[in-house]
Symmetry: C2
Subunit: 358 residues, 2 copies
């Protein structure tokens, strides 16, 4: 039997995982679930935010489902570690308005494809002390004070962008466009300032465009600066179809996109690699509503749909999307994030029933 690793994590991560598994199990598919640990509670119990065993389980599974975790200040983020270990180079985040959900816009439907392995997530950071020899007396005194409080006065993060990863993610964007019948790919960068790193990203994009344009002349390609894109998402969100961009820009734009269509409670994501797939709602562990049974399970349930598509269970993936759409359209129930007062379990039961009746 195929294996799925599940990592519920902390806070509402556990609650939406329970909801998600209720849906998944109701489909009677042949999967074995391996429950695995990560996050803050896990750290308190075993001293690690993500134990080796969890990574091993994820690697040998057909897919991994992730809830949400509370971050520990001192440790590397387990989700970043997991993305790296599984080499899931593409982070897919659909942004879509749903009928029945109050939002600022209608008819938004685009997909953010975020490079998931490098950029500012390379996690190569260093501390530096200011050189004393060139300092003036005043600065020396300041440095001495810094010395007492905290020696660090300068920090550097390396933003690494390679031609290989940039090309790979742009090719992935084209393959996805072809598969999903999308007609425009927008490359987002800040090449006017980051001439080299974003320069190579943009150049790789247009190299890929050149290669694919003969094969698919109906797919348009253009590019925008990241700052302009942050504005265009508000001024002309319907014009976007696929956005392909580097790691942190994708992180920022996908949260902004979630804000456009009703918030993080509806935002699923897929992390896709050549071998592995990792699926997670975009939201966090939400300590403020933890344990109250009020978390919106839809982001998780839609992430499960993305997982089923990855597992080539297209029929069930589509059924789940349809069931979620119908429940939202009916406007009968909604969790507090969407202005209602239903509980996680109410929504879950409603979606399960809808699935049975489809």
């Amino acid at each position: 039997m195929k294996k799925i690793t599940t990592i519920a994590g902390d806070g509402v991560g556990k609650e939406v995982m329970e909801a998600g598994l209720t849906i998944l199990e109701s489909l009677n598919l042949n999967y074995d679930f391996i429950k695995s640990k990560a996050g803050f509670e896990c750290f308190q119990n075993c001293g690690k935010t993500i134990p080796e065993e969890t990574i091993k389980n994820a690697k040998k599974s057909a897919a991994t489902l992730f809830g949400a975790i509370t971050s520990t200040p001192s440790e590397k983020s387990p989700i970043i570690t997991l993305r790296k270990e599984l080499d899931v180079f593409a982070n897919l985040r659909p942004i879509k308005t749903f009928e029945g959900v109050n939002s600022l816009f209608n008819n938004i439907d685009f997909l953010i494809i975020r490079e998931n392995t490098e950029g500012l997530y390379s996690q190569i950071e260093s501390f530096e002390k200011e050189e004393e020899k060139n300092s003036t007396k005043k600065e020396k005194k300041e440095n001495n004070e810094n010395e007492k409080n905290n020696k660090i006065t300068k920090t550097i993060a390396k933003r690494v962008i390679t031609k290989k990863a940039s090309t790979k993610i742009c090719e992935f964007a084209y393959k996805t466009a072809i598969k999903n019948n999308r007609k425009k790919i927008t490359c987002v960068h800040k090449e006017n300032v980051l001439k080299k790193t974003d320069g190579i990203f943009k150049e790789s994009f247009y190299n890929v465009v050149e290669r694919y344009s003969a094969k698919c002349p109906d797919i348009k390609a253009n590019d925008y600066y990241i700052d302009a894109t942050a504005m265009y998402l508000i001024t002309k969100p319907q014009e976007f179809d696929i956005i392909v961009t580097s790691n942190l820009y994708g992180d920022i734009l996908s949260d902004e996109g979630a804000g456009l269509v009703g918030g993080l409670g509806l935002s699923p994501s897929a992390n896709i690699g050549d071998k592995n797939g990792l699926f997670e709602p975009v939201h966090g562990s939400a300590p403020d509503i933890e344990g109250k049974g009020l978390a919106n399970p839809i982001a998780m349930i839609l992430s499960i749909s993305m997982m089923l598509e990855f597992l080539k269970e297209d029929f069930y993936a589509k059924q789940i999307n349809k069931a979620v759409e119908n429940v939202l359209k009916s406007k009968k129930i909604a969790t507090p994030d969407l202005g209602g007062n239903s509980k996680t379990s109410d929504i879950t039961i409603a979606i399960k029933k809808e699935l049975e009746n489809l």
Copy 2:
């Protein structure tokens, strides 16, 4: 007589500069204007995007007014050079809804204070070739092909964040809050991933908060992640008062903010240093509408208001704001970006008249 350096630049930069100077000159203040060059046209004429003389003029002036420029692919951005040369460490970008302007929200009024000297704008980037010795055969072949087309396979940008600059911008945020009677300062970062660089930024912020909180207990302080902030600007924009953040985050959030309140045609900015001040509309040179006389001059005129405040001409600064507000409120005329069909000169004349009648 005090000097003001004016750099019109390219495209609509020239048109809004003309409009701005019409307003400024109508006030009969005692300033000498030094017209200086920068940008694409300047590059074509003299081989430099920003000549030494322009920088010299700006340095010896009481303030510098900048229009907009078209970037040249190969050169460093002149506006970045100018900000660096003038050591204008704080980039202020007010985000405010105006009565009479169609926008998604009402009652938005916050100020983005963007660190303006470091971060990803340090412009320390390098190329690297992949190490051949560790490569597999296949990779070697790939590298050889890269060699033919383009040797570069890996690029790195250094994101530098210092305690000194972080502390300085956070102190500036407090001073601005006190001066402008603002009651909340939100620090924006991504410390969960950039533990060191954004760690030092956040830590510097809370050190400043600690120092100021006794003096001004009515100013609240909090912090958000950059991705969450990009969402909150849409889901709860009225909750923001002052945002203090690093360079690129500020760049992205200020364009997003412009989108919230009617676009870049209304977005002014001030770059402030210990000695110098540089004032510019946030928009670019807009080649698509260049030469048509359709650019919205209001971002420039509001930038002039910020300049006059910097020059301690508070009375005139306020008069300009009032005149712009009245013209917008009247809804009689608007440039195409705001849904009207008035020309740059129509708006300029209307604001000038309004000023005379105030």
